[in-house]
Point group: C2
Chain length 407, copies 2
DNA sequence: CAATTAATTAATTAGGTTACTTTATTAAAT
DNA sequence: ATTTAATAAAGTAACCTAATTAATTAATTG
């Protein structure tokens, strides 16, 4: 069962560079590698896996048989037409594992149950003015009950965890007054994992929301195409993620890719943060100024075209800011690409990317390798989906940055 | 011999995530791990190594004996005074391996021979107005001959490579005229590695100069203390390096940590690069304006105090710029620390760090985890030293980011 | 044109090796 | 006598190479 591949707890040691390897560690590593290769390529026959992994065919064969008997991979239809024995592509078994993904946003929460191939099996929503701990946890508890009930009883044990995507220091953003403000502030002292542990035995992983979105893009979206990139997610605020060596880099404190905090230049030449120069809340504020209903931004994609006299200047400013921010990130890491996504309609994303490309071409790029500017492909659901990836990845896939598990 | 630990060539494969592991891969990994732990802690008895690596004592013992017979580690004096059998600390054998480090700078080149514990065995210099390929390679060829001759004949086979530290796109910085300019431009078409291959069979590794400095700081300096940090090296221009998970991250194209290209804000609020706002060439330019000899900056450390009426404003501006740049890097990666070093006297470095700390405290740090600001410890020689680390690390030490070598 | 043979490729089995683990032993100190 | 470090011996897991089985296409022949 999946237990075999669960990462072992490491004792925290001073000066630990990495961990020693033993046989079982090797098998674990290789099994995760095979699953990662199959995931990445959708379906692969054993020979290709052997070639890609550098392992011998018999080894791959034996690992695949084990994975198959564990219900994690399954055989596809034999491929004929070439000389020789037909190959049997192996693919992930959709029912191999499940995970919950919870996104806690500033306007709404979103809980989904994702299967092993990244398909959303069921989903529930909650809207609010601002999230309060008690309401969120009640929503989650009830949601878990409901979503679990949808699953055949024999598959419920395959749910391997709960991933939570939340903004960094959630409590720092609202300036509320009164008793509800006090309740909101309690986020500061709440341990999300321990609260959830009160009503669910499943392991909990908490991630930065934009990093989670990046994760989803990386595994199920365009991110597959690039080895390393910075990812911008434009929501009410702006956040980001970082991918290095084909794997999302969360950072020591989980705060890598805090791209909203990149320094930007205000109209008067003063220093400000990107989040104050290029988020959707700026557009919202502008719409409020002219008495437009801002809800339509989130609920009605066509409204964006209707509002183009307000959207256009916003797009222009945002693109300029993103262009500069993109190059700044490339000064730190020589990213191959910059991916841009957000909670807006496809045509806006496309227009934004086009404009960013244009602005990047006008910048001073001495000392830099200019990255490709590309559009993300997942959109608003990315955060919850990425959150759900957490437990699945921890149990079954390779993570370049974590080092290998010990025996 | 060292051949056992040489990284194997990998065939370039599409979609390679990582490489499969076999027994020999395991042994190689563990041997490198042990060497890395010993290097990091200067000297360690087997029991401690076992604890730190998570390997069993017999395994560590057997690997150590192999490393000992290969001449890579040696026994220290038994530590008595505690109950039980005295422990025998193992340390790197200084004569275990050697490497050449060549720094190609804008004003001078520097070639040194480094031993296995990072000691400089011999060193030669070359000064110029600007570096020309033919002169540099002649200097290197002659230098290799001379420095090799210093070594006992039986140890010459232990020289494992040549590390070269050079600025990114060297040819892009000078605006020369005339025939010598043409010769300088040829850097663009020169492959440093193949030129060197004409007169030396040793493997060659080329690194970005600031990344090399970072490497030296990381292995032999203060960098040991931090798990991840951004490193600023202030020379004629400003460069940087990036350390993630206890290991220098070079980037896909070797251009990670191009911190001189970080965006900065000019006096009139215009966007400019950090390199134009905070390098020593700014101070030089100011001194030239007032007809001061600029050579003294590089040759006479005491001159900095004498010139304080010019140095002080430069320090102030540089510190402000570094403070903002430091936080920008932390928006990309949540670095634990920022290390600052440069080609200037110790008291200047110290003063600079103090001021950067002060400025950081005044910045907008919403969404960020504020890093520690620390001084580097190696100074001007860091680049050549770091360059020499390249071949040694490639052969004997663990590199978190490269993945493990295949069988 | 059908049947046969050759060639090719995929997947698995068998046997051997490596390098790890656990358990036991020896050595040297307080 | 007890404690701790280091090594030795025995056992095991997981890899590799080489050989085998299987399934197909391609070529040849009566």
């Amino acid at each position: 069962m999946e237990g075999d591949y669960v990462a072992r707890m490491e004792t925290a040691l001073i000066q630990t560079i990495s961990t020693g390897l033993s046989q079982s560690g090797v098998r674990d590593h290789n099994a995760r590698l095979l699953l990662s290769l199959v995931q990445r390529n959708v379906a692969l026959p054993g020979t290709d896996i052997a070639r890609l992994s550098g392992l011998s065919a018999p080894t791959v064969s034996s690992i695949l048989r084990k994975l198959e008997s564990d219900g994690l991979v399954e055989r596809g239809d034999a491929v004929r037409g070439k000389v020789g024995k037909p190959s049997i592509p192996m693919r992930l078994a959709p029912t191999g594992a499940y995970a919950f993904g919870l996104k806690i946003g500033r306007r709404s929460a979103n809980l989904l149950l994702m299967d092993f191939v990244g398909k959303v099996r069921a989903e529930v929503h909650l809207s609010y003015d601002y999230p309060l701990p008690s309401e969120i946890f009640a929503f989650l508890e009830e949601g878990i009950r409901a979503l679990t009930a949808d699953l055949p009883a024999d598959q419920r044990t395959r749910i391997c965890g709960i991933g939570v995507a939340a903004p960094f220091e959630l409590w720092n953003w609202h300036n509320l007054k009164g008793p509800r403000a006090k309740s909101f502030q309690t986020w500061k002292d709440v341990s999300i994992a321990s609260e959830i542990a009160r009503f669910s035995p499943l392991p909990v992983m908490v991630t930065n929301d934009a990093t989670a979105a990046c994760q989803a893009e990386h595994i199920y979206g365009r991110g597959k195409a690039f080895r390393d990139y910075a990812y911008f997610f434009i929501g009410a605020f702006i956040g980001g993620g970082v991918v290095l060596n084909n794997s999302v880099f969360e950072g020591r404190q989980g705060n890598a890719g805090a791209l909203g905090s990149l320094r930007s230049i205000g109209l008067n030449g003063e220093s400000m943060q990107l989040v104050d120069a290029a988020s959707l809340h700026l557009l919202e504020a502008r719409l409020q100024e002219v008495d437009q209903d801002t809800r339509q931004l989130w609920t009605d994609p066509t409204s964006w075209k209707r509002l183009s006299r307000y959207v256009d200047p916003w797009l222009s400013q945002t693109a300029q800011e993103l262009a500069k921010a993109s190059l700044s990130t490339c000064a730190v890491i020589d990213f191959e690409a910059i991916l841009i996504d957000g909670a807006f309609p496809d045509h806006i994303r496309h227009e934004l990317v086009t404009r960013v490309r244009r602005y990047v071409a006008t910048q001073d790029t001495r000392g830099l390798i200019v990255p490709a500017i590309e559009a993300g492909s997942i959109g608003a659901n990315a955060r919850a989906l990425g959150a759900a990836c957490g437990p699945i990845r921890a149990n079954f896939f390779l993570n370049t940055h974590q080092g290998l598990s010990a025996a």
